[in-house]
């Protein structure tokens, strides 16, 4: 591939920060299990604990409230299953219908195990109603979970209000903030937030590291049993090098998010306006008012998202039909369906997610190639089958 690549899939994975890569490399040169008692072990432990303190400071938490995991999915699983299992007398789970699969699947699995599930509704832009949450916080609720910002259409949720409502009702509240950190102020210590999931590779740290921020008073049952290295709720040798890189990336996210958001919102507005202006029939599913600053999500009537993706890929534009994790299930996005989007239209959708390396040239290039791709994809006809990963 000699042609230039326009990477607009930062919500799937964003490039590592050079400073995070440096931190990882430095730490990876040394031997030592952070749980070992000798000098090398202590040195590794020091890296882990300094990283933990750094992340705790940046998020307004205590160090003991930062639990390293192997990624966002594990952090979500630990919170959802752990909080539910810790409350056998309160079986119900309250969940939004637009969660990432890392939340949705554990919740549905608990439902299959006999737990009653209350599905919240969302409006046409994918926003949960606080009143709806309040109405469902009954005494039998083990936890309520609503993501901070959606990974597909980018919709930001009224997390402060939902968390406060949960606090008032005495219900533990989990939020998946994987997409939010780095683009929004994420106040993990806000009243009512019991747990919060973060992922390294969405903010410039490596793939394979995540954090569960877990309130010191919260009780969770472990998912992984073993050495109990992380506060006795998460077992497995802690990856010192990745924790160091994670700390660098979290620091970058919380100090730079405002300038970053302003910059990519400008690109986002140009891209969104260009799509509507240059592609007849295009419908935006993301809005500047309630979406993450880097997200543009659009549907193209009569097209198949997978055909569009392939044609754009051939033109050097790398985007997504939604969540990169959707695979093998020939169904339109559950997020769009929950928003009331017509299933046929939902199948003809693309997500462009801008990030740190995005430039005005990227936007121009997308707008150059998209109209022709849409024209060709619409000639290829309505979706009958789809591409899977």
């Amino acid at each position: 591939m000699t042609q230039p690549r326009t990477y607009v899939d930062h919500a799937a994975s964003t490039p590592m920060l050079p400073s995070a890569a440096d931190a990882w490399q430095r730490a990876s040169r040394h031997v030592g299990n952070p749980s070992s008692l000798h000098g090398s072990g202590r040195a590794a432990r020091r890296i882990v604990e300094e990283s933990r303190e750094s992340i705790a400071d940046d998020l307004g938490m205590r160090p003991s409230e930062v639990i390293f995991t192997a990624g966002g999915t594990e952090a979500d699983n630990l919170a959802i299953k752990g909080l539910a299992w810790a409350a056998p007398d309160r079986p119900r789970i309250v969940c939004s219908p637009i969660e990432h699969r890392a939340v949705l699947d554990p919740v549905e699995w608990l439902g299959e195990q006999g737990r009653p599930i209350t599905w919240l509704g969302v409006d046409a832009v994918g926003r949960v109603s606080v009143d709806d949450v309040i109405a469902h916080l009954d005494v039998d609720v083990a936890l309520c979970t609503v993501m901070w910002a959606n990974n597909e259409v980018g919709t930001i949720q009224p997390i402060a209000e939902i968390a406060a409502a949960c606090a008032d009702a005495g219900v533990p509240f989990h939020t998946d903030a994987v997409q939010a950190l780095g683009q929004l102020p994420v106040d993990a210590g806000r009243r009512g937030i019991t747990s919060l999931a973060l992922s390294g590779h969405k903010i410039g740290a490596p793939v394979g590291v995540g954090v569960l921020v877990l309130d010191r008073d919260a009780r969770v049952v472990p998912v992984l049993h073993g050495g109990g290295q992380e506060r006795d709720v998460r077992s497995g040798t802690v990856d010192a090098a990745s924790s160091a890189a994670m700390a660098v990336a979290v620091r970058h996210a919380v100090t730079e998010h405002q300038a970053h958001a302003e910059r990519i919102a400008g690109l986002r507005d140009a891209l969104a306006a260009g799509i509507v202006g240059r592609v007849p029939g295009a419908v935006l599913n993301s809005t500047a008012e309630v979406s993450l600053p880097g997200h543009v999500h659009a549907s193209f009537p009569g097209c198949e998202g997978d055909a569009l993706l392939m044609l754009l890929d051939a033109s050097g534009v790398e985007c997504s039909t939604g969540s990169a994790c959707t695979s093998g299930v020939p169904e339109p996005s559950h997020v769009l369906l929950a928003m009331g989007v017509d299933p046929a239209l939902a199948r003809g959708s693309l997500r462009f997610s801008l990030g740190r390396t995005s430039t005005p040239d990227d936007v121009e290039r997308i707008l150059d190639v998209l109209p022709r791709a849409v024209e060709r994809a619409s000639r290829a006809g309505s979706p009958t089958f789809r591409t899977v990963s």
Binding site: P330, F385, V388
Partner: protein, 357 residues
């Protein structure tokens, strides 16, 4: 020129794609997901397992071409699997590989490829396309033991126009050697066999799970005497000898075969091998690969994938084709495909509806 390469994860489609890249085509690799994931016995053998998808992806990596998986499981279920089961239910003997080429690879996939701006689909089939005086011709492969022209003979002219078979002039052993030389790890992967959605090769068991038990009689084709019962007569095929479960030996001790069935399908006729012999085969719905043959055309016909070619004279009357065989053939089942050849060239094909001595 842009081509879609259907990558099964096997050695043949890998080398076919590699040759297309070498020939200067802009190639995009596609793996077809044909079996519903998590839905039973597609299992560890056959095709379209997760391992095959991974092998296909790695081939695309090595060739430096884009790679996508297209989920055609709904189409495959409807046009190949359901058709297979329904055909047996109707007393016919279908060939699902033919159906897959006709309805999936050179229909659903080719149509989508053309719509997306590709010029055709390249596969690892062993067959040759030759530009003849009257247009594109389909010919047998050089490697006769691997020749797959039979399962491609149902392709019509537009389908053939979009088909690319780069392996038709190469022997299988040389394809493997070439794959190894290209550093493709699939070079020594075993050939796929049997029907991909019946990995244990137990067709009767598969059909019984789908159609349930339906007891019918096994009747002597000559005397009309009931010789026994069978729990799944729909699974029996003309020419079949094993699995009849007959306990009463024939008078002369001769082996007994399925000869045919009565209209309702519940009474299956069995008899000696001689009763299987036919000299006249009737087919319907011919697809001619080029001009339709002249009356009395001398051809070789083939009635199963790896069957011997049989010398015959062809009689064509609109939608009906009659093959008059020089020497009698055995085990000609309705539903099978009759393919006629002129030398190595495929003349056309038709679906067998009946046969007689």
């Amino acid at each position: 020129m842009r081509l879609i390469a259907a990558l099964s994860g096997g050695v043949d489609s890998s080398v076919a794609a590699a040759r297309s890249v070498d020939a200067g085509y802009e190639v995009v690799g596609i793996h077809l997901a044909l079996a519903r994931s998590g839905n039973g016995p597609a299992g560890s053998r056959g095709c379209c397992t997760p391992e095959d998808a991974r092998d296909a992806r790695r081939v695309a990596d090595v060739l430096g071409i884009p790679f996508y998986v297209w989920d055609l499981s709904a189409e495959f279920q409807r046009d190949v699997i359901d058709d297979f089961v329904q055909s047996y239910d109707e007393g016919l003997t279908p060939n699902p590989c033919i159906r897959c080429n006709e309805k999936i690879k050179f229909a659903a996939v080719l149509d989508r490829a053309l719509a997306l701006g590709f010029e055709g689909v390249v596969t690892g089939h062993y067959a040759r396309i030759v530009e003849g005086p009257g247009g594109r011709e389909l010919h047998r492969a050089i490697d006769q033991t691997k020749d797959q022209s039979y399962v491609l003979a149902v392709l019509d002219e537009p389908q053939l126009a979009g088909a690319h078979f780069p392996l038709g002039d190469t022997r299988k052993a040389d394809v493997r050697a070439e794959a190894a030389g290209r550093g493709l790890r699939v070079a020594d992967k075993p050939d796929s066999h049997d029907i991909c959605f019946i990995p244990d090769a137990d067709t009767e068991g598969y059909l019984r799970r789908r159609l349930g038990d339906r007891e019918g009689q096994l009747v002597d084709a000559v005397s009309g005497e009931t010789l026994g019962m069978h729990a799944a007569t729909y699974a029996l095929t003309v020419g079949q000898r094993r699995g009849l479960g007959l306990t009463v030996p024939s008078d002369d001790g001769a082996r007994r075969y399925v000869i045919g069935r009565e209209e309702d399908g519940m009474r299956v006729l069995v008899g000696t091998e001689q009763l299987l012999s036919v000299r006249r085969i009737e087919g319907r719905g011919p697809i001619w690969c080029g001009p339709s043959p002249k009356p009395g055309a001398r051809v070789a016909v083939q009635i199963r994938a790896h069957g011997q070619p049989l010398r015959a004279t062809l009689e064509v009357d609109g939608g009906t084709v009659i093959a008059h065989l020089d020497e009698p053939a055995r085990g000609v089942a309705p539903g099978q495909t009759l393919v006629a050849y002129d030398g190595t060239r495929v003349v056309g094909s038709a679906t067998i509806v009946g046969s007689s001595a």
